[in-house]
Structure formats: C-alpha cells, structure tokens
Amino acid sequence: MPVNYYIFLSLALFAIGIVGVLIRRNAITFFMCIEIMLNAVNLLLVAFSKMHHAKQAATLATAGIDGQIFVFFIMVVAAAEVSVGLAIIVMLFRNVHSVNVNFLNRLKH
C-alpha cells in the first residue's frame, strides 16, 4: 500500500478536523475535532513507522518502533489533555451557562 494513500487520507482527516475547529462554536465539538486531527496524525505516524520498518527491516529488527510508541504516548497525552480541557469547559458552563467558545470576549483589545 503506497504511503501516499495514507498521507492523503490523514491530510483529509486533518483538514476536516481544522474545518470543524473553525466552524463549530461549541467547545465540546471543538474538542472532538481536535481529537480527529490527533487521530489523523496518529494514523500518519503508524503508516510512516511501518514504512521505515519495511525499509530498514534488514538492519534493525525494531526499525520503526519509536513511531508507534510516539503514537501510544500521543493517545495517552490526548486523554489527559481532554480530561483537563473538559474540566475547564464544565467550569465555564457553570459560570456562564453556555459553551460557546467565543462567548466571553470581554478580554478585548
């Protein structure tokens, strides 16, 4: 499977994530789109780790491994980030009763 397919797929996902981030105002949806973007990146990384594994399989048995470990850490970190993020969003909801990311723009100019 040529890597290009994976690149285009993850690029598309990434773009959809960004569009989602730009369009949706709801903080939760916002985070979902971020998750999509992160998943796109993870997919790309796994594809590249397999690519490097295929290229250097002869020399080093565990060639592309650090790509996959990086994906593992990304997933783990994303979980932590989301948990704190949602805590803040709940706090926002409790103070302002709305989840619109742009609701508060008192901090102007």
Partner: protein, 628 residues
C-alpha cells in the same frame, strides 16, 4: 645633567598661574594685588626668557618633550617645546614688551572697578600664556593650541567693554575672521598628518622634500591663509581696524607687538616647506606688498588716531610678508622685532594722548598738544622717525634690509615697496602734526583737562623709545660695520642666510641714500600740508580712501547678507514645515496604525485559530512557491 632647557616649561607656567589667580579671585583681591600678580608673573617669565636667550646664544638648543598630548594608535602628538634661536627671540619680544604693557595698563585701567580690573589682567595673562605656547610649540598641534588661545583672548579683550554693542560686534568680527583662518590652518594640519604621518616640525620638515610639489604648495598656501587671518593680510584684514575697540594697551600688546606676528612666526618656522614651494612664496610676496600699499593709502585718510596706527600695522606686516615672500627671513624677523618696539611705543603714546583727551580719539579735534604732553610728544616723534626709516633709528635698518632683498629679488617689487615706505612716512607725520602741532581744536573743557600721563605710563614710553632707537643696531649691515649683523648671526642656526648678496656695496649705499632723501622730502611736504590744518570734507579719491575702499561694505554684500538670508530661510521655511511636519506625521501614523492593528485582537478564539491556520498557509506558501 639633563639639558637645562627642560625647565623651559616654567615660562608659560607663570602666566597661567597669573591667569588662574586673577581669574578666580578677582573679586577678593585688591586692585594693587591684581596688578602685582599680573605684572609679576610676566616679569618672572621675562627673566627666564633672558636666561634661555643666553643659553641659546652659546649654542644650546633643544626640544623638551614632556608627555603625550594625543596618542591614537601609531599617531602620536607629544606635548613638547622647541627652544632655538627663533623661538627664544620671540620669547624675548613677547615677555619683554608684554611686561612693559602690563605696567602701562596698571595705570591706564586704574578707573575700572576691582572685579573688571581682575578680569582684564587674567585675560592678558592668558593671552601671554597662549602666545608663549604658540611660539614654543615643537609641533603644529601645540602651535595650533596657542593659535586658538590667542584668538580667544583677542576676542575677550576686544570685547572687554562688552556693554557697548559696537565693541562686542567688533570682537565677533575679529573672532569669526580668525576662525576662517584657523579653519585653513586646520586643513593644512590634517593634510600634513595624512601626508607625513606626524606633526612635529623636525619629522615634517625632514619628510617635506619627499612630498609632491602640489602637496607642499597646497599645504603652504593653506598655512598662509591661516597666517593672513592672524596677521591681518589682504583678504582677512578688516577685523584689525575694528579691533581698536579694545583698550589701547590691548591694541598695543596684541594688535601690534605679539599676536599679529604669530602668522609671520608660523611662516618662518615652516621655512623648509615654503622653500620647496616657490609659487606660494610669490603669492606671499605679492599679497604682502598689496596689503602694504592698500593699508598705507587707507591710513592716509583716517581720522581716528588708533585706526591710523592699525592700518600702519597692517601695512608694516605687509612689508614683513614681502620679506618672507622674497626669502629674506632674517630681514623679516628683524623688522618684526623693530616693528614691535616702535608700534608698541606709538600705540602707548596714542593711549596717553587719549587718556589726556579723556577718551577722545578723533585727531581732527586734537592738535597743539606739543606743549602740554612733552614726553608723549618726544616719544611719539621717535616712533614716527623709526617707522619711516630715518637712518639712526631701528626702522631704517630693518626696512632697508627688506627693500634691499626686494631689490635683489625683483626690481618692480623694490619700486612699489619704496612708494609704500614713502606713504608710511607721509601718514605717520600727518598724524604727528595733526595731533601735536597746530592749534588745539578740542573743546574748552578738554583744553584745560590736558595733562601729562602719570609716571607708570611715561616710563614704559621712554623705555620703548630707547628700544626703538637702539633696536636697529642689532642688525647693522656689513657696509657700515663688518660682522655687525648680530641678529642674522644669532638666527643663523635656524635660518641659514640665503645666497650671497648679489648687490655690490656701492649700489646698496646708493639705495639707502635714495630712500632716506625721499623720506625726508615727504616729511617736509607733510609739514607744510598739515601745519595749519582746517578740517574739510573729503572729495573724490580722498572720500574713497576714507571709506576704506568700501571693503567692509563689499564683504557685507558678498558674504554676510546671503548667509543671513539663507540662514533665515533654513530656520523658518525648511525647519518648521518639513522637519517638524515629518516628525508629527510619523507620530500620528504610528498611533493610528496601532489603533487599527488592535482591532485584529477581537477576543474571539475562532478568529485566533483562523489566523493561525492562515499563517500556516502563508508559511507553506513561502516554503514551496518561493522555492520554485
């Protein structure tokens, strides 16, 4: 033992101390104490100069180096004094005449308030200090230091009575013209440094021969322009007559004896350069002669006693420059010495006349003072005789030497110079007869106020009279007394005598007789002309000469007015609209800009993310499409 001359720094040191004491404590000190310190310091340095003169006489000359005045990388300017025949002679003139004038001015300035009295003497001491610095400097920079100091003091002293705007304007004029000269001097200095890499005389002169003739000519011409400003020659002389605004002893000291000789000293000191540049020597000769003639003609028609003397100084300096131009340096220096004597004498005598007349300076309202001011009259007479070159007096010997060397150089020069000498005799005796002979034309009240000046003024007059009389014997030419030319012999180590005299003794004798006879004739003519004198309006040529050939008005039109107008234009038109405008616009622009840019800060998170994505786009675009 280290050469005794190392102590030569004491000479300028004492006037400096005098300046500081008088300057700082002028309010506290009493007038007599001020006079004492003022004159005392000059006396001490005079004694030291005599000692130096004796040392130099028996062949001991030296360059005393003290510390590094300026050291920038390889270029080094030592603070050094050069003591040789030329500088020791000048030392004598400056300190000697300086001391006499200091004594004279103690009484002349008696009616000044204590504080101003102190100020006057501190300026005088400072002047003597900077003049000594100029003369003793072993390199151009120290000389320039003195050069500037002297110009400053002349400005301060001319504008001594600063309340009178006329006098301060004259002081400005003097200072600005000197600045023009100094500017040329500075250019020459830079040129020398760039070409020879050093400013000390010995190094510069040794390398001078290696320089291209064009370089040397430019340097010498620039130096000469500096000299013309300082010694009041053709283009830059108009400040000297106006400088008479200062007190008379000041005019005597600065504008007769010492400062005006600075230019001559500098040209003589850089003799090595000038001998390599025949063109500039001719320029000097011609300028000198032209100035002499011009000043003499103007002096004939002047009615202010000091103005006449001022113009006569200008013309005598013209003669000296003529001598330098034709290469007769020793004759030039000799005339400098004698001129210092009788010109100081004339000025001081004029001072005592003005003192007697209660400040009146216009000779048309004087006359018939022979009886009242006996000593002043006699000394004034001696001065006139000396300046016109009557045989036994010093003027005769020095002027004759110049005429002789002019004759050798070029016949025409001699003829014009002779005509100049006759003019000198004419206006000097006109002055003499108008002030002292004939009937008194002043007011009644001035009439009975006339009295002889006190001793403190008359004694200096007498001393100077004796000097003017005896001064000539220092340089008796060979035809009278074999080996009599003491001054030439004294100066020989510094100024080796130029080639042998081409003129035989007989022609020399004839020339001398010719000049003396003509001068006597002119004096008799003047006697008849001015014995019974009635002031009447000048017409035609006389009016033209009276108005100083309208030179001042000429300068006014050519230089000063356009400059004023340009300055005015610059200040209000250009500065106000363009520069201020520009600054305000920038200020307003920046403020306006920052207000607009702040709108970007909308507080909306999505717009932040949008900007992030767009900038991402921009970076990618720059990365790829730029590379193609």
């Amino acid at each position: 033992m280290q050469n005794a001359l190392q102590l030569v720094w004491l000479i300028p040191f004492f006037p400096l101390i005098g300046f500081l004491i008088n300057g700082l404590f002028r309010k506290q000190l009493s007038k007599s104490l001020i006079a004492l310190t003022g004159c005392g310091t000059i006396l001490v340095s005079f004694i030291l100069s005599v000692w130096v003169f004796l040392q130099v006489k028996n062949g001991n000359s030296d360059v005393a180096e003290y510390f590094n005045f300026i050291s920038a990388g390889s270029f080094k300017v030592p603070f050094a004094f050069q003591v040789d025949a030329l500088s020791s002679l000048f030392l004598l003139i400056i300190t000697g005449i300086g001391f006499i004038i200091h004594v004279y001015s103690t009484s002349y300035m008696k009616d000044e308030t204590g504080e101003h009295y102190g100020r006057y003497f501190s300026y005088l001491n400072l002047f003597v200090f900077s003049m000594l610095l100029l003369v003793m400097g072993a390199n151009y920079v120290i000389m320039y230091l003195g050069w500037e100091g002297v110009a400053l003091c002349s400005y301060l002293l001319i504008g001594y009575w600063f309340k009178n705007t006329e006098y301060s304007k004259a002081a400005n004029k003097a200072f600005i013209m000197n600045r023009v000269g100094d500017f040329a001097f500075l250019l020459a200095l830079f040129w020398i440094v760039s070409k020879t890499g050093s400013v000390s005389f010995d190094v510069v002169f040794s390398k001078a021969s290696a320089l291209g003739t064009s370089d040397v000519t430019i340097i010498t011409l620039l130096l000469f322009i500096g000299a013309t400003a300082k010694s009041a020659q053709i283009p830059l002389y108009t400040w000297l007559p106006d400088a008479m605004a200062g007190p008379t002893p000041v005019s005597a000291l600065i504008h007769a004896a010492t400062m005006v000789n600075a230019g001559i000293y500098m040209v003589t000191r850089s003799k090595a350069l000038y001998s390599l540049a025949p063109l500039s020597q001719d320029v000097i000769a011609i300028t000198g002669l032209a100035t002499a003639i011009l000043a003499a003609t103007i002096a004939m028609k002047q009615n202010d006693i000091k103005k006449v003397l001022a113009y006569s100084t200008v013309s005598q300096l013209g003669y000296i420059f003529l001598a330098l131009g034709v290469g007769a340096y020793t004759a030039g220096i000799f005339h400098v010495m004698t001129h210092a004597f009788f010109k100081a004498l004339l000025f001081l005598a004029a001072g005592s006349v003005i003192h007697a007349m209660g400040g009146e300076q216009d000779i048309r309202r004087m006359g018939g003072m022979k009886g009242k001011l006996k000593i002043t009259y006699i000394t004034f007479l001696v001065g006139c005789l000396a300046i016109s070159g009557i045989p036994p007096f010093s003027g005769f010997f020095s002027k004759d030497a110049i005429l002789l060397s002019a004759y050798e150089h070029n016949k025409i020069l001699y003829v014009v110079a002779l005509f100049g000498a006759l003019l000198t005799a004419y206006y000097m005796f006109r002055l003499l007869f108008l002030t002292f002979n004939g009937s008194f034309r002043g007011t009644e009240e001035q009439q009975h106020h006339l009295h002889e000046s006190p001793a403190a003024m008359t004694i200096p007059l007498i001393i100077l009279a004796v000097l003017s009389f005896a001064g000539g014997f220092a340089g008796i030419p060979d035809i009278f007394l074999k080996g009599g030319d003491a001054i030439a012999e004294f100066l020989s180590p510094v100024l080796p005598p130029e080639g042998g005299k081409t003129v035989s003794h007989s022609t020399e004798l004839i020339l001398m007789l010719l000049t003396t006879v003509l001068v006597l004739a002119v004096i008799v003519l003047a006697w008849f002309r001015f014995r019974k004198y009635k002031p009447e309006e000048e017409k035609g040529l006389g009016k033209f000469l009276k108005n100083k050939w309208y030179v001042d008005e000429l300068y006014e039109k050519i230089i000063i007015n356009p400059l004023d107008r340009f300055g005015a234009f610059l200040s209000n038109v250009f500065d106000r609209s363009v520069v201020d405008g520009l600054v305000n616009i920038v200020g307003r622009l920046v403020n306006y800009g920052s207000r607009q840019v702040r709108l970007l800060q909308s507080g909306q998170v999505t717009s932040y993310v949008l900007l992030m994505v767009l900038s991402m786009l921009l970076i990618m675009a720059v990365q790829f499409f730029l590379r193609k």
